[in-house]
Symmetry: C2
Subunit: 124 residues, 2 copies
DNA sequence: TCGAACCCTCACATTGATGTGAAGGTCAAG
DNA sequence: CTTGACCTTCACATCAATGTGAGGGTTCGA
């Protein structure tokens, strides 16, 4: 598929798909005329990227995380330098912390909403 | 305490404490000379804010979420307009989605790290 | 062969969260 | 009374993600 279709199917502006490519997050083959072509696997990948960006991770980090996400258990350790592993550990912990924070706050919001709803339904 | 102490204790640049105040996320009393003064409760609040910002929420949304976080179950519904409730529901769901995304990816990273570590310890 | 609907690159603008520093007031200690 | 460590406001700079549009090529159907 070309960029327009990927854009529609992922709800992502073309501009951003090109940006993600520039940042090394996705790769696209090219048709002889220079048009980008994507296969189905890019769909998931783009959704991943968007989700992570939305969760506050910068592209620089996402780039390091993506290779860990190969479906097949064929984990490949191409250039797993110690610093890179340290970065990943760090990032794993930061993600855990984010999850904790989000969960706590999400629950508080949910509780609040439930309370309001209760008040509205039986205003004493 | 004054801004310097709050800054140190929360690890937050003064600049940002002023920014959060400007955005309506925290309030500060003033000494007769104009200096900001904070009480202990601002410590938690600032950490909340930082955590949520780091998790990708914009100040505009954080501002709406914070009032849901009153420790005492005295939930107050000062101006719980329907649109605001809708916003909160929306945001609750977005947070849930973020949590899902982060968890999935965090687990993948953790798995990857475990696998690498295993390889390193017993290189077959 | 023309127009619509794609695609390309390039470049400048905007937005939100920050960094940085200038110009100046306050206050306690030497 | 001065110095240093605070504080104030204001303003301009930066960075990453994103918006927008110009200027131009490709492809396809009427």
């Amino acid at each position: 598929m070309r960029i327009g279709e990927l854009s529609e199917r992922t709800g992502t502006p073309r501009r951003l798909l090109r940006y993600y490519e520039e940042q090394g997050l996705i790769v696209a083959d090219r048709l002889p005329n220079g048009y980008r072509v994507y296969d189905e696997s890019n769909l998931d990948r783009v959704m991943q990227i968007r989700g992570l960006l939305d969760a506050g991770l910068p592209t620089r980090i996402i780039k390091q995380i993506l290779p860990c996400l190969n479906k097949p258990r064929i984990i490949h350790f191409p250039d797993a330098t110690p610093e890179m592993l340290a970065t990943l550990e760090d990032e794993r912990d930061r993600m855990t912390e984010r999850i904790r924070c989000l969960t706590r706050n999400r629950d508080a919001v949910a509780e609040y909403l439930d309370a309001v709803r209760e008040k509205l339904e039986s205003p004493v």
